[in-house]
Amino acid sequence: MLHKTLNISTSPHIVKGLGTNDIMRNVVWALVPVAIYAVYSFGLSALLILVTSTAACVLTEHFLARYSKKESTISDWSAVITGLLLGLTLPPNFPLWMAFLGGIISIALGKFVFGGLGYNVFNPALVGRAFLQAAFPVAITTWFPVYAPERFSTVSAATFTLPFLEPATDGFTGATPLSAFKFDHVTTSTSDLALGLITGSTGETCAVLIMLGGVYLVARNMMNWRIPVSILATVYALSGLLYMVNSQTYPSPDFMLFSGGLMLGAVFMATDMVGSPITPLGVWIYGAVIGLLVVVIRIWGGLPEGVMYAILLGNALSPHIDNLVRPRVYGTTKTLDIRLMNKEQPVNTTTEANSRKMLITMVGIGAICALLIVLSFQGTLPRIEKLKAEALEKAIFKVIPGMVTKKTYQLEGSSLKEVTGKVKDAQLVYAGYDKDGKLVGVAVEASGMGFADVLRVLYGYDPNKQAVVGFYVLESKETPGLGDKIEKDPAFLSNFKALDAALSDDKNTLKNKVVTVKHGTKKNAWEVDGITGATISSRAIGNIMGTSTNQMVPLLYKNKDFFEEKSHQ
């Protein structure tokens, strides 16, 4: 033995043993329950999304490493994390090709251009997510119901959309894609949110599982608990303060905490070590800044996903935060700018040059992103209009049972004239005829203030029956799970199958104005039975219907013959 060559190592000769790949692998483990729950609640579509985004990230990582002639870095698991996180922030019915593209962007633009793992400034998954938000604003705000009964046997029609074709629209509930996300409103029960009973992005729904994953990582010393704690505390404190000031306009702090992507972002994305500060105090500041930005963006910014932008901004700030709060070095009195005190020392400019390069890269990326956003907005505008028109068309056929053909009329004063094609800014009504050309109803659009925002509805009126015969919510941003029952609750919708709209004897007003009554107290045919838990939203519907029918029904009735005649022309 004593002639063996000895191995030379440099001190320390022992290491703690916790490897970077171990940390990354454990983050993946911590995400697994979240992913499983996502698949359980959203079904096959969600599974496909997660698999696709993860595969895209891993493959991109692999090929970029090969292209740059470096050793493959897949084994460090970081690409898997990026892929999973990206998938979890996307809607479950997101087209797969877009998810794949997002994965490529995450790794290529979010990580590789910076020099790979450890050198990236931003959380790669969020870079991908931001790109998708900019490029596909429609698809990324199209939601899919949670616990759909057929979720394990079928996938959402949007899932297999071919590249560059517009996705099928089965998931549409919010018709204006650029509008704010649904979750920024108040009344959803916190426990439902925490347990993931509410729809949302694939993996953002179950706050409890996300927190469990975080606790696991913290217990294994693989996550800095200060980051989620300071983010959540800041969000809670700040929104609590606002709520105290005015509980009407501002959402409750509980709601803020458990809604949307905050939990996933705070626990799994803001804590990404690469993008967060490393000084102890810096970490607290970083968390507080993100928390502040989340509240500001959500409440005043009008941007849908406040969390994403807040974290990206936090990432950009973290090197500066570190620089500002450098701990005092033992035996020195210098705290802040040591450089000033070392004026006489020539400072090597290598790192300065590097910061400059970094800055140029970042500005470049910013410019490209801005351009992309503008282009895709312009590009999608006509499509959005088209989708809207299609949705309306479908709705008309829904609210007038039995109709086969449609004619559109423009209202001018109290007379009507037929129009074809596009008409801007005109009050339109749509008459529906059966196969014999007999008038079966007239569809009318109405709108009014809902609980959260404007509600747009479409209803069908049959002059022969003197009743409303169909109803459809065109646009609503009511709270998922509660206010949005006005669109889904079958009992509520059955109110409008035969809602009395008989005219008074002088034919100028309704005999009885349509109103919403408290749930279970409907006695008359002209009353709408309200929804418990969505009182405000269902009342709003009653008001809109009442006002509109009162104004429109006499007019339409008068023109009954006109409609009939038109049919034969």
């Binding site: 000895l6 030379i8 440099t10 320390p12 916790l18 790949n21 690469v274 033992y330 040591i338």
Partner: protein, 435 residues
């Protein structure tokens, strides 16, 4: 930071005398400073304790014969750094009783401060904790400074090592004698023996034996690597921070290792020179682990043969696993600064080879005892921005404790970077004409 201690394997084993090797190799550089100057010639017979070489200057110490024997050869000998230095081969008399030669005793009552410092230098004493800096230089209080507290360092925070622990349990008298010399030499008014909480038995033992009327206290500090570093210890015991770039004397303290103290207490009353020291030999690759009193100059190969090293031995460290140096050549010998020999077999080494990029996890920042930012320093080192490392990130304050490398999950050899960077800067500064 708390690396696994592995001290229980040897801390219960009393110090045992090691056999005399047939050949002793004495390098003339065993300390920091100028090499010692040989005063014997080849073929000369020497007696154990006899002067072999005199100090090569003020920052240097003499060397004494660790055995009685014959000077066989004066030639270049290998050292742990890989450099060859002048040295002496002594063939040990096989049947000698190895009596130690007496010198001129120094009495701490009557001797002056200067006489004591001279006596310490003459005894060839250097810091036995590992640094091997000549003790008399360290004890010399600079003009205009004064020392109020003498700290005896019994921390021994390096994993595996139990040298100081055993010395405290077995050489209390020598320690207290040594303290008397040190008090006189430094002019300190009080003495604190600092001991880590994992050696409570040693603390109790010493506390119970403090001689009457001596201004000595024993203070137990929490277990924490690198608590034994001078600056850390000064802060832990006195709450004073040693200024950047300065020595503990800047805050009126002097720190001396406990084994060094014991050695002073043992040697000076007899006017002897240092010829042996206590060394912990341990690690997964050693069969007869223990604390041994080993003659200086004993070849490492002989030591390992005697204690029975595992045949799968892969790495041998002189000193502990945190700050010790890996040995490449078993023909080097034990020196005054060798506090331990740790032997690792292949399968005991768990250190992964793969280095990942820095993921900014902050573990190193948390671990650094002096609040440096090793992550940033490591990145700068890669860019070779040495001047910026020193100017803006306090590189020169790094005392190479290795905590950052130990915790780094990406296994970046941070402290290795810093050692290199520091030596490059020192070279540059030396090359620069003094401004």
């Amino acid at each position: 930071m708390h690396p696994p201690e592995h001290k229980s394997e040897t801390n219960g084993l009393p110090i045992r005398q090691f056999p005399f090797a047939p050949v002793i190799i004495m390098p003339m550089v065993q300390h920091l400073g100028a090499p010692s100057q040989i005063i014997v010639r080849e073929g000369q017979e020497v007696v154990r304790g006899q002067l072999l070489a005199k100090a090569g200057g003020y920052v240097s110490v003499p060397q004494h014969a660790p055995v009685s024997g014959t000077v066989r050869k004066i030639a270049n000998v290998p050292t742990i750094s890989g450099k060859m230095v002048q040295g002496i081969y002594i063939e040990t008399f096989p049947f000698s009783g190895q009596e130690v030669m007496e010198g001129k005793p120094i009495d701490h009552e009557t001797a002056t401060r200067e006489e004591i410092l001279q006596g310490i230098q003459d005894a060839g004493i250097v810091g036995l904790g590992g640094a091997a800096f000549p003790t008399h230089v360290k004890l010399k209080i600079p003009e205009g400074k004064h020392c109020d507290t003498l700290i005896i360092n019994g921390i021994e925070c390096e994993p595996y090592l139990t040298t100081d622990h055993r010395v405290m349990l077995e050489q209390a008298d020598d320690i207290f004698t040594g303290i008397r010399y040190l008090l006189k030499a430094t002019g300190a008014k009080r003495v604190i023996i600092g001991i880590e909480a994992n050696k409570q038995d040693a603390a109790d033992y010493l506390s119970a034996r403090i001689p009457k009327d001596e201004p000595v206290t024993v203070q137990v500090v929490p277990v924490k690597y690198p608590q034994g570093a001078e600056k850390m210890l000064v802060t832990a015991l006195l709450g004073r921070e040693v200024p950047s770039g300065g020595l503990p004397i800047e805050v009126n303290a002097v720190v001396v290792n406990v084994a060094t103290t014991a050695e002073i207490g043992r040697l000076l009353p007899h006017g002897r020179g240092i010829q042996e020291r206590v060394i912990t030999i341990t690690g997964p690759g050693v069969k007869k682990k223990g604390n041994y009193l080993i003659p200086i100059g004993t070849p490492l190969r002989y030591v390992l043969e005697q204690v029975g090293a595992d045949e799968n031995v892969s790495e041998v460290y002189m000193g502990g696993p945190m700050m010790g140096v890996a040995v490449s050549n078993l023909d080097i010998s034990i020196t005054k600064g060798t506090s331990g020999i740790v032997v690792f077999t292949e399968n005991a080494i768990t250190r992964p080879e793969k280095v990942y990029p820095c993921i900014k996890c902050g573990a190193c920042v948390d671990a650094c005892p002096i609040s440096l930012n090793p992550s940033k320093l490591g990145i700068l080192a890669k860019f070779e921005a040495y001047d910026e490392m020193a100017a803006n990130y306090n590189l020169m304050d790094c005392f190479e404790c290795g905590s950052c490398s130990y915790v780094c999950p990406s296994h970046i050899p941070l402290v290795q970077y810093f050692r290199l960077s520091k030596s490059i800067i020192k070279k540059r500064n030396a090359a620069k004409p003094a401004a």
